[in-house]
Point group: C2
Chain length 238, copies 2
């Protein structure tokens, strides 16, 4: 019998934010795959789930380099997907870890697609997103009533983010470190200085919370930084 691939979202950092389903999948896994960008690098996703891993389970780091050349990237994804498929052929259960939710801006999406295209069974277990965890942590609603919520990975093309702000919608800006100065500009242009909060490495040891524009403009925000941008001033800002 062939094995199956189970992609699981491990949430943003707190091991208690894993779902029961994710923990059971980790406990039952033959192999756990932790993606990272370099072999020497620690895997944040793996650190989060360490307490749930059984001794007999094989741990394997898989390299997904952070490069912009699409061709080289696709070669890497394909090689990784083929490595997983080899284990599935042997009937093994392979669990693939993803920070946050596996269906939102994750490398797992490409692996999921490739491994299914080889004819293998793939199941996915959703995870708590960084913005969901931040909102609960700060008791800060993401959206109420009939207000739309835009999830926006920061790029130079900010038309849709500006349209959302103009409509009074709520917004979550992800990958803030890709264009922090442009985001600071938009906040200032729309007089949203009292309406936002930036959280970096939510739930991890180095978590930081900032209400200061200086952290966008002068101090380079860390890689895993998210801004929640509200249509009204945030109460209790410090």
């Amino acid at each position: 019998m062939k094995g199956s691939l189970i992609g699981i979202g491990v949430g943003p950092g707190d091991p208690e934010l894993l779902t029961i389903k994710a923990v059971r999948a980790i406990e039952a896994a033959d192999i756990i795959i932790a993606p990272c960008s370099r072999q020497q690098e620690e895997s944040i996703a793996l650190n989060i789930v360490t307490t749930y891993i059984k001794e007999a389970t094989e741990l394997r780091k898989m390299i997904f380099p952070m490069i912009s050349c699409k061709e080289t990237l696709q070669q890497h994804w394909q090689r990784n997907a083929e490595e997983i498929a080899l284990e599935l052929e042997k009937g093994r259960t392979v669990v693939f870890l993803t920070l946050g939710d596996p269906m939102l801006y994750s490398t797992y999406i490409y692996i999921n697609r490739l491994v299914r295209s080889y004819g293998h069974e793939v199941r996915t277990v959703p995870g708590i997103t960084s913005f969901g965890a931040i909102a609960s942590h700060l008791n800060l609603p993401l959206a109420e009533g009939d207000k739309p919520l835009l999830i926006f990975p920061m790029t130079e093309d900010t038309d849709l983010l500006e349209a959302a702000i103009a409509k009074g919608a709520e917004a979550v800006v992800m990958k803030v470190s890709q264009a922090p100065l442009r985001l600071a500009e938009i906040i200032e242009e729309n007089q949203l200085q009292n309406n936002y909060v930036m959280v970096s490495k939510c739930g991890q040891n180095q978590e930081s919370i900032s209400y200061s524009l200086l952290d966008l403009k002068e101090n380079k925000p860390p890689y895993l930084s998210t801004v929640i941008l509200k249509s009204k001033p945030i109460e209790g800002r410090e």
Copy 2:
């Protein structure tokens, strides 16, 4: 010592999609509050967590009527928040259940705000959203790369939804039953007939998945229906 209120997201239906943190809060609760719209009504949120509740825990239904008069609603919220505060004064730990995520379109948001305004400690535990669960269940990515994702509660003012579609963004339409015909129109106008899926009551016993516009246009979609609207045709549609 005063007690605390813990709002927890129980996810959309599958009891295994609760987080470890949510299960621990339920196990440690003195009182569990399950919101429902009428006293006779079953609480979906309560059904999801039943297996985790200890025998000594008090269960209490709390009525949040589905009415549009804002003043009467606010009176209800305030009465409910005061009832919770009374228990917190007695030092009890009160857990408030919410379908999906507590910080996204939930009645808990109002309770959270009121109970904190009375000076009580309130903690919130995030939950898996309906759209997160649907995406994983169908192996359907919500968004990849730098594509924005709009979470849009269906209303008659669809400007921002149409702007998102025009920009090639991804969208999740919630509360579909509020204006299903308008949504069907938008899908047809933008030739997205092959790009969407509607899921009703995800993870519950009566779950249904539809790729047919007839279910939007002629059959009234159930209350808890969500549409995922992709920028590209969905592979493997049946």
